[in-house]
Amino acid sequence: MKRGSLFLNGSALFGFVFLYAPIISLIIYSFNESKLVTVWGGWSIKWYAALFQNEQIINATLLSFKIAAISATLAVVLGTMAGFVLSRMGRFRGKTILSGWVTAPLIMPDVITGLSLLLLFVALESMFGWPAGRGTGTIIIAHTTFCLAYVAVVVQSRLASLDETLEEAAMDLGAKPSSLFFLITLPLIAPAIVSGWLLSFTLSLDDLVIASFVSGPGNSTLPMVIFSKVRLGVSPEVNALATLMILVVAIAVIAAIFIMHRQNRYKISQ
């Protein structure tokens, strides 16, 4: 028994070290004075200063944030609809197809999604003249599409765990389907919608492959800039950037845990 739990704890410890060592090393080396990234030259914040003077990175960051915010918002609207349709609208023709289309983007390799969307945009442009050229708009459409799937899954699972009698009770007390959705369902799935939005935002901010396919010239997102920089080797500026992004994520996750905590109090009450 003792030996068993020693093995378990040991391998779990190894697993967590494995998960966190790269992140921690990124953070530490972002404060390295030396330009040779692996040679420790003492503490310094000069790479952060360099980062804030790098116009290319700043522009790409702004563009990526803009795309991520718009895509996440669109994805939340469409994904909530899809999740709601799948779990609350009973049977209808095409339900199987819709649920297939919602699940597949989650595991579809990015290269396929990216290539297929690009070819679609090219075909649409030659047939209808829209979208005229590729850039921010086409990236937003592409990101909305795959983020929609994540939101739909999160919303669907939240709805599945939600006591359906709450919605029946509202109907029983005279709420029409529309007011039922906005007064009862929406507030109760709000945590799922918030986490769906955050997830979409992160995924959009992170996407390299799909954006590379569907973006046009002069529309480099942050991952595209990072990729072109690091492809040639380790870059201290990217380390600094990574540290900042990890910080943002850490704050967001703490906020999310706080929201989930509140949500759990509701669950206990049921």
């Binding site: 009698t165 009770a169 509202a170 109907m171 029983d172 007390l173 509701y266």
Partner: protein, 386 residues
Amino acid sequence: MPTSPQIDPSKLNSPASWRDPEAKPFVQIEQISKKFGAFTAVDSVSLDIYKNELFCLLGGSGSGKSTLLRMLAGFDKPTSGRILIDGVDMSNIEPWKRPVNMMFQSYALFPHLSVEANVAFGLRREGVRSQEVKQRVAEMLDMVQLGHLAKRKPFMLSGGQRQRVALARALIKRPKLLLLDEPLGALDKKLREETQFELINLQDELGITFIVVTHDQEEAMTLATRIGVMNQGQIAQIAEPHQVYECPNSRFVAEFIGNVNMFEGTVMSEDSDSVTVHSPDMDNLIKIDKEHATGCAPTQSVCVAIRPEKMRISRDPMDGNTNTTSGIVTDYAYMGSQSIYKVRLHSGKEVRVTLPNAIRDMGDRLTWDDSVYLSWDSESGVVLTS
């Protein structure tokens, strides 16, 4: 709200509309069926419920009682048949337009709304002015003694308090019909007993027709004006509580409600005031008063049901040559208010006898392996033909 178990005697004496053949039923359920795929949850049930009734649908899980209730509320659409409430056909009326409210088994309190907002929800949907909403909510909360908790969220309440919020929320729209799905199921035993009487009083006070679904026979007995016993999607018997217990119409109802001893046998003879049945389990014949032996004729195979508390047990032989038999005590349990004996008859059949512990006598008790005689009155048994 008075919590004493006394019920206003004048109300008890008021004429029971269900006994009046002229009375117009308030809820008419006509030949209603509900199928889920190949499974028939409710199988052509017809049922009339009268104004001011507290009707209990009693049955085990899967008996169709909850489905019937959900069809009344409008959550499930009947496969065939229809429901009329106060003369209006409900078939095409959506749940949010029905003059019916429901108290859910889980209470279904909206977790994101305060007690006050939960109770006000129905009135707000009707477009009642906010001043009036405020006033009516306050009155209703006072009535269920929750005025001081108005601002709380449901998760901050105890089980009993939640139950009363659910009740207040369902009552505030003054529905013509209140549906209650296992209203006391989530409460502990003691609270349940208190609440039963509160419910009865409330129903009397408000004059709303109640339909209660429950699997708990004691609850049904206490609450109901009439009970509908359900089995496999059908109504097995509709009767007043004491009739369901004393005069069950089938083996199913007799065995479902309380404990019962069954003797299978053949009808031997029939005269003007009694029926005689021969059972191979008995030392001699069983005699049953005619009024408890309807629908049988000589040579027919029947069952005779006798409740354990209606049997007498003694070491000494009993008088008379009917309704007596003998056996050996095989099991004995002291339960405080009563004692239970299991007696094996000569045929090998075991019967159950309960004896109230009326006197604090610890002396000469019947015990294991005692030879005993059993007897009962001819008015105690019931002949069951199905």
